[in-house]
Symmetry: C2
Subunit: 187 residues, 2 copies
DNA sequence: AACGTTTGCCAACGTGTGTTGGCATCGACT
DNA sequence: AGTCGATGCCAACACACGTTGGCAAACGTT
């Protein structure tokens, strides 16, 4: 049952869906436009993915593939994470699709929160001094990385778009590092 | 000609529009729902604002009211800006509306870029060492502040929502400060 | 060659949208 | 009292959307 004849169609739909969701957001990415991109009839999308909601769920499946932080020196985790994030974001529409959609679609926002809790939080908890502070620290890390992605891939602020990835990582790295390990600065 | 009879209606529409745009985004905030919130007929919205696009333009008009940075010591500008941003964001739906909408609506994204270039950039240029670096530095400041707003008001990441404004500002302040004045770290 | 299953397209439905024009009502002014 | 513009609601338009059911062609199996 490995190579069914419709697998190519299924995949083409998924690629087109990711592109449309990434560039248009959830509501403006129509089933019809996705089907047109995949050179296929809209009803095929329904047959293979049930409805728009499920199609998005399939298209927004994502693994951050965060590296094993115990392998890098404690002082360089921030820089490593910054580089990894930026690298993971470029050349894959999935995260941009998820980010754009999560601004207006509650299911997408849920997915984003899941991704945060299930993938980023554990890594942060493994590095930061007090485990009780891990959620807040992870939230701060998320705010910087998502903010950078927002300005670079969604809002397309010219100076942020024009910045080479290496330079962006060099700027943001120390910020992440501070959020991870610097002693708490609660007022 | 100060107090026309329809001014209350106009204002009510604007308030309802801001709330809807802030909570639903551009496409899901319908003229009908806005009119219902304002206890008015949908056609009134059209008569007073022309069309949905212009209504949004009116509802998303915003002034950051950034403070005069020459009045604060150079080392505290970051903290001052962080506090000001957070304070300006709470209790006013306009910025959240603009942020949510700019993820899927190009006109809103344009407005966001305008706001960046016309209001944030000059302030950054007045503080940072080399004027040529001002755009990039302002972009970094925007990435952190917008990212925080995204996590706090749009995605509603629990740890970021639960953080008191003062604590958030205390964490983010030094980041802004570094983006503003720390010597360039281009690779 | 004949069968059933899979893959695909077409036409249509019901719904919600932005938007428009016409008609009643209210207020001010003569 | 009568006129006129401002204010408001109702009904409807045209359109795009997600979604559905039926029918033709292609395929694999016997």
């Amino acid at each position: 049952m490995a190579g069914r004849r419709s697998d190519a169609t299924r995949a083409a739909i998924l690629v087109a869906a990711r592109e449309r969701f990434a560039s248009d957001g959830y509501e403006r990415a129509t089933i019809r436009s996705i089907a047109a991109d995949a050179d296929i009839d809209p009803s095929m999308v329904m047959r293979y993915y049930g409805n728009k909601e499920k199609l998005f769920a399939a298209a927004a499946e994502f693994d951050l593939q965060l590296p094993d932080v115990s392998a890098v020196p404690p002082g360089e985790v921030g820089a490593a994470l910054a580089r990894h994030f930026l690298h993971r974001w470029e050349g894959d529409d999935t995260l941009t699709a998820l980010l754009r959609a999560s601004a207006t679609n509650e299911a997408a926002a849920d997915r984003m929160r899941d991704l945060f809790g299930a993938q980023l939080l554990p890594v942060v908890a493994a590095v930061c001094p007090d485990p009780a502070e891990a959620p807040r620290r992870a939230g701060l890390v998320a705010s910087q990385m998502l903010g950078l992605a927002l300005c670079r891939f969604v809002l397309r602020l010219p100076p942020v778009v024009g910045m080479p990835a290496a330079e962006a990582a060099a700027w943001v790295g120390p910020t992440i590092q501070r959020y991870l390990t610097e002693r708490s600065s609660d007022t």
